[in-house]
């Protein structure tokens, strides 16, 4: 300790301290000055810590593929384990000849209808409206032409065609095969059939009442 405060050394120590102090203050000022300044670069990351690994996680981008997607579509026609779908009609809505099934392969029970109503209100109602009139919020706010299930053309659709439209989409509508399992799609078809029927009954009752 005495060496530190010995003659001659004290002044040098003070100068050194002062220098550090000035430097330190300048550093604090510079760093503080950076606060709130936006940077186009991501934050400095000194320790990589295996945050970025040469492997592809789900939904990660990959520059290897032309479209930048790391996820790839399965090759058409392949069958994964546990995904054997021998009942072609149930999963496509088409019969062996490639025609739409006239009738749903799923029996319409109260449970199926309840399930269909629930799924319909989640996935379909935002555009097609709870009544299926095609006047959901999308039509309302964005003037997107949305089909009604009650016009003459769509009343004539066979069940299989409804299933096909839900599965693969139609016009602006995306396919919903991924979020809605096949049995739920048939349940939605059953629910839509009931909506149509109820509306026809209401109409009949109204016109009948008028007569």
């Amino acid at each position: 300790m005495s060496a530190l405060f010995g003659p001659g050394r004290g002044r040098r120590a003070i100068v050194r301290c002062a220098r550090f102090g000035v430097f330190g203050l300048a550093l604090v000022a510079v760093l503080a000055g950076c606060r709130g300044m936006p940077s186009p670069w991501p934050p400095i990351h000194v320790n990589p810590n295996m945050d970025d690994q040469p492997r592809l996680d789900a939904q990660q981008a990959s520059p290897f593929f032309y479209d930048g997607k790391g996820m790839r579509e399965p090759v058409p026609g392949t069958v994964a384990r546990g995904e054997l779908r021998l009942d072609v009609g149930f999963y496509t809505g088409l019969d062996a000849a490639g025609e739409f099934l006239p009738q749903s392969p799923v029996e319409t029970t109260d449970e199926v209808l309840a399930r269909g109503a629930l799924r319909y209100s989640i996935y379909c109602a935002p555009c097609h409206d709870e009544r299926g009139t095609g006047t959901g919020i999308l039509a309302e706010y964005a003037s997107v032409p949305t089909a009604s299930i009650h016009d003459a053309q769509r009343l004539a659709y066979p069940d299989g065609q409804y299933f096909d439209v839900i599965t693969n989409g139609f016009g602006l509508m995306q396919g919903y095969a991924y979020p809605i399992p096949a049995e739920d799609r048939w349940a939605i078809v059953a629910h839509m059939r009931r909506l149509q029927q109820e509306r026809l009954e209401r109409l009949a009752a109204r016109t009948g009442g008028a007569e």
Binding site: M71, A80, R81
Partner: protein
């Protein structure tokens, strides 16, 4: 070798040694055993030669350097239109088939978001039964090989498929007029119904065309032999599991012959003992007569060294001995003696075979000429084995018999070939040197080459079409028993490759059709219904789903035997020995015939016998090396008929004398950045007359040396009985011999004992939060050394599952190889006639783990389920843990081995496993990602994890089913049953009391009582004396210092 003398009467374990240097107590090697890290392992290499391994593509380099100090920006890239059944993060599995020569290997491939990442065997497919070989495992890295051919080439310039089809249309128009005059097609062997159909189409369209077949390593001899004896084309189907006595003559049926997965499964079944009643246990006995030291020879109970050229004489002598002992074969009464085979050996072998009529089995190897195979068939028939232990089947869907490569080259040389279509083969590299194929090829006007790489042949071809990998294509195949299966693609071709059926269809039919349509067209004929019909579609979908077409297996064919081969064999003169050595060309147990040369996993896989990596060598027996005055790593010139190659010498204990063995598959020049320039091409000194072995080879020293990267002394553990083995008779009398090999005081430990209760050592306060009805698992593993054949499939499976990098030759030389599971190979006995034991060594997951006590940052800790876990992000790389590990199973990332992984290679990595960085210690995790996946699945269904639901990668791959894994608290689980076996022992447990969770079941041998085996382990029944210094009466060899 320095071995202390044990107390008189004490159990004396056989002296095991890993290398000849260790056996001689060479000080250079002693150093390997005394140090954890090899000399220089901690120092930087001169130059950055590690980059030779995956020499880096530039794309990721710039990215890495620029973004190095900034947090990486990641984008989520979802599907716009998501496929119906693909949930991101949940892998799916596809059954498909890997055509491998004429074999069909059933696969079940794991796919993460539409990208295949891991290959397993398909449990429904008869060729694999759920297990896999190292080549199946490594095929995933081949798919993502960055050096694969990326574009169609016309005279070396990038072109398009459309331009090619147009050009071919012009050529074909001329060919159709001439009936195919001047056209030749060179194919690999196959067993595909579609290819067979297209071959017939091609021959119909071009009746004058030539069709030749070339496989550098072919099974043609076995098939020719069977058809010679029986008059029809037949393929043998040996049932090792039904045999009690097996004789393999020059046959490596556990290593490189066709059908190794099934053969290993069946052989291991024949070796199973009943641990519950040791006294009544029986197992098969394996005799092997061979010249090279193969994996099968290493597993033999009795190994007889006979040069490959003398195998025929050996079979004749055996037949004579069998006839003398009363077997009705038309063999000459006496046969000339065979050097190296004693009359006593022949007598005992013949008596053993005769005592097990109908339960014995003789198999001959691929290298032997047809007459030997025919003779073996005669013997099997006389012994009553045909139809019992060996069946024959009529091969279906193979190529129609064609010309040999030699005949094709002759036609090419005579100018009779103007257009040559090469379907996948690489003859410029693999053709025997005497054919001068490349010269002949230069005289052919139009050469079309289909190949996975721009390889040696592609460079010499006018057109090169990139070949799609089997995981990218539609195709089909038939297994050895006739079962048909479809090859379905896991991913669209990465580089617009075409399959051989698509190219052959263009050649044969002139149309450009998709493989999908072509396969469906074939199958409509096979199934007898039109595509689109309901019966076809349901059968097709079922076949795709299962990976096999049910009910298509063929019944065994009658094998009428005509005699004559034995007589011919006995009367054929001994090969003109004359000057020089015998040279044997063997398939590489890693690279096979060179088709896997650009696969870094396989290049770095230690050879099962020599433990060499990244090289082939001139393999010599110790005596022959002494005679020639050469030693290990000395470069010699091996010359045959004036053609020569240079190779380093490697001395192999147990190889036949006067023989030099050279493995094929090395010395590629057009393989890619990994395979080029590794080793020397042995095809150069092959001759088309004698492809598999030849006389008159000379070996001259060049005086130079080549440093070989071999691992046989790496990670050595010394001084204690690490691997334990005994004879079956000894086991019957002393079931607990493995435990009795070591006597110690009751162990005690400084640390608290593992309690096996839920959350054994929870931090304070945690116990209260743990729900009591959570199922309790304590994971453990048992490895049955008696089943393990040393095939290395587990090593590659682990590497694939756990993203383990290959590090390159230079790093292997420094002892930095990263394999989490290694196969220790121990010899015992003399250097000429050693016995071999294999021991797979992963992390032992010790309950009293020494590594955990010394980690200063708690980067390696125990979890509540008994797993010794690594927390990579905590690790600061002190390597104390590795120093303190008695099993040497920890691996340290000396470099950022994965830093420059090309984008396409990154696709092969398992997304469920961390890719480790520099400075991090790593080791076996018991495949903790698989354990967690099973626990999550079980929890979703509100049930405990069932036994067998969690399978580690090594366990799932193992064709011998040597590895069991599961919850050791579940009394009924397979692993708990194994751990109750009297053969169960924990390696080093008695000495250091680590309580390893991975235990071993001791190996048994079944030598004949009449043939005293050379220093067979456990031949001496004396044991049981207490005291003594067991760590001295020890395996592992070098002087104990513990």
């Amino acid at each position: 070798m320095a071995r202390s003398t044990a107390a008189p009467g004490a159990w004396e374990a056989p002296a095991y040694w890993r290398s000849l240097e260790q056996r001689a107590d060479d000080p250079r090697v002693r150093d390997h055993y005394e140090r954890e890290f090899l000399e220089g392992a901690s120092e930087a290499p001169e130059g950055l030669s590690r980059r030779e391994v995956l020499q880096l593509t530039a794309a990721s380099v710039s990215l890495a350097s620029l973004a190095a100090c900034r947090r990486p920006v990641e984008h989520i890239v979802p599907f716009v239109q998501a496929p119906e059944l693909m949930v991101p993060g949940i892998p799916r599995h596809y059954a498909t088939t890997l055509p491998f020569r004429h074999e069909a290997l059933g696969l079940l491939v794991e796919s993460h978001e539409g990208r295949p990442t891991k290959v397993e065997g398909n449990e429904l497919h008869p060729s694999t039964l759920g297990s896999s070989s190292l080549w199946m495992q490594a095929s995933i890295l081949d798919l993502y090989d960055p050096d694969r051919s990326r574009a169609l080439l016309a005279a070396g310039e990038p072109s398009t498929w459309e331009a090619f089809t147009a050009a071919w249309g012009d050529i074909a128009a001329g060919l159709v007029q001439s009936g195919g005059q001047g056209l030749a097609i060179l194919a690999e062997s196959f067993s595909s119904p579609t290819l067979a159909r297209l071959q017939r189409d091609a021959q119909e369209r071009f009746p004058q065309a030539r069709w030749a077949t070339w496989e550098p390593i072919s099974e043609a001899n076995a098939e020719a032999g069977a058809s010679r004896a029986a008059g029809v084309a037949l393929v043998p189907d040996p049932h090792y599991e039904r045999a009690r006595v097996i004789l393999a003559v020059d046959s490596d049926f556990l290593g490189t012959e066709a059908g190794v997965v099934l053969a290993t499964r069946r052989y291991a079944a024949s070796r199973a003992v009943d641990d519950a009643s040791p006294s009544s246990s029986g197992m098969s006995r394996l005799y092997v007569a061979e010249g090279i030291h193969s994996l099968t020879g290493a597993n033999a109970d009795h190994r007889i060294r006979v040069r490959s050229s003398r195998i025929g004489a050996f079979v004749a002598a055996l037949a004579a001995e069998l006839a003398r002992q009363g077997l009705g074969v038309s063999a000459p009464a006496s046969a000339s003696p065979v050097e190296g085979v004693s009359a006593e050996q022949l007598r005992v072998l013949a008596a053993d075979l005769l005592a097990h009529r109908g339960e014995s089995l003789i198999v001959a190897g691929r290298r032997q000429p047809p007459v030997v195979h025919a003779a073996v068939l005669e013997l099997n028939a006389a012994l009553g084995n045909v139809g019992r232990t060996i069946e024959y089947r009529i091969p279906r869907h193979r190529q129609e018999s064609g010309e040999t490569l030699a005949e094709l080259v002759e036609a090419m040389g005579a100018g009779r070939v103007e257009t040559l279509v090469i379907l996948g083969a690489n003859p410029v590299y693999s053709a025997p040197g005497d054919l001068a194929f490349a010269e002949a090829l230069s005289g052919v006007a139009n050469v079309l080459h289909l190949g996975g790489h721009v390889d040696e042949t592609a460079a010499a071809s006018k057109w090169h079409v990139p070949r799609a990998h089997p995981l990218e294509t539609w195709a089909d195949a038939s297994a050895a028993d006739g079962t048909l299966s479809i090859v379905q693609p896991l991913i669209a071709p990465l580089w617009d490759g075409k399959s051989e059926i698509e190219l052959l269809n263009l050649v044969a039919g002139g149309e450009d059709r998709s493989g999908y349509d072509l396969v469906r067209q074939t199958w409509s004929g096979l199934l007898g219904s039109e595509p689109g019909s309901e019966s076809f579609e349901s059968r097709w979908l079922q076949t795709l789903h299962d990976g096999v077409a049910e009910g298509t297996a063929e019944p065994a064919a009658e094998a009428p035997v005509s005699s004559g081969a034995l007589q011919e064999l006995a009367s054929s003169p001994a090969p003109g020995g004359g000057e020089g050595l015998e040279i044997v060309f063997a398939a590489s147990p890693a690279l096979f015939d060179g088709r896997f040369a650009n696969n870094a996993w396989l290049q770095e896989l230690p050879h099962p016998i020599t433990k060499m990596t990244w090289d082939n060598a001139a393999l010599l027996s110790p005596a022959t090396a002494r005679t020639l005055g050469v030693e290990n790593e000395e470069i010699v010139t091996v010359s045959v008929e004036g053609r020569e190659i240079e190779l380093p010498v490697w001395i192999v204990p147990g190889q036949a004398d006067e023989t030099v063995v050279v493995e094929l598959g090395y010395g590629r020049t057009g393989a890619g950045r990994v395979g080029d320039g590794v080793g020397a091409n042995a095809s150069v000194i092959r001759t088309s007359r004698s492809l598999d072995y030849a006389q008159g080879a000379t070996v001259r020293s060049t005086g130079r040396r080549h440093l070989v990267a071999q691992t046989q002394d790496h990670h050595g553990m010394e001084g204690r009985p690490l691997v334990r083995a005994a004879a079956l008779d000894h086991f019957r009398d002393h079931p607990h011999f493995a435990a009795e090999m070591v006597h110690t005081l009751p162990p005690s430990t400084l640390w608290s004992e593992w309690t096996y209760e839920e959350g054994s050592h929870p931090p304070p306060g945690v116990r209260e939060r743990v729900a009591v009805d959570v199922p309790v698992y304590q994971w453990g593993m048992a490895i049955d050394l008696n089943a393990c054949t040393g095939c290395n499939a587990c090593v590659i499976a682990c590497q694939s599952e756990n993203n383990i990098p290959a590090v390159g030759r230079d790093q292997v030389r420094r002892g930095r190889e990263m394999h989490w599971i290694r196969l220790d190979r121990y010899f015992s006995g003399s250097e000429d006639e050693p016995e071999t034991v294999f021991q797979p060594v992963p992390c032992m997951h010790c309950e009293n783990a020494p590594c955990e006590q010394v980690c200063p940052v708690a980067a390696t800790v125990h979890d509540a389920e008994g797993i010794n876990a690594m927390v990579y992000n905590r690790c600061i790389g002190t390597r104390y843990c590795s120093n303190n590990c008695p099993y040497k199973v920890r691996r340290f990332n000396y470099y950022h081995f994965t830093k420059h992984t090309p984008e396409v290679v990154a696709l092969a990595n398992n997304p469920d496993v961390t890719v480790r960085s520099r400075g991090v210690m790593e080791k076996c995790t018991y495949c903790t990602q698989r354990i967690n996946a099973a626990k999550i699945a079980a929890k979703r269904e509100d049930r405990p994890v069932a036994d067998g639901e969690v399978r580690t990668a090594c366990q799932q791959a193992c064709p011998a089913q040597a590895i069991s894994f599961g919850n050791i608290l579940d009394e009924g689980s397979v692993v708990a049953t194994h751990k109750r076996s009297p053969r169960n022992y924990g390696m080093l447990d008695e000495v250091v009391y680590t309580r390893p969770r991975t235990t071993y079941l001791a190996k048994l041998r079944n030598p004949s009582a009449e043939l005293a085996p050379p220093a067979a382990p456990g031949a001496d029944p004396a044991h049981g004396a207490t005291g003594g210094d067991e760590s001295d009466a020890a395996a592992g060899g070098a002087e104990g210092h513990g």
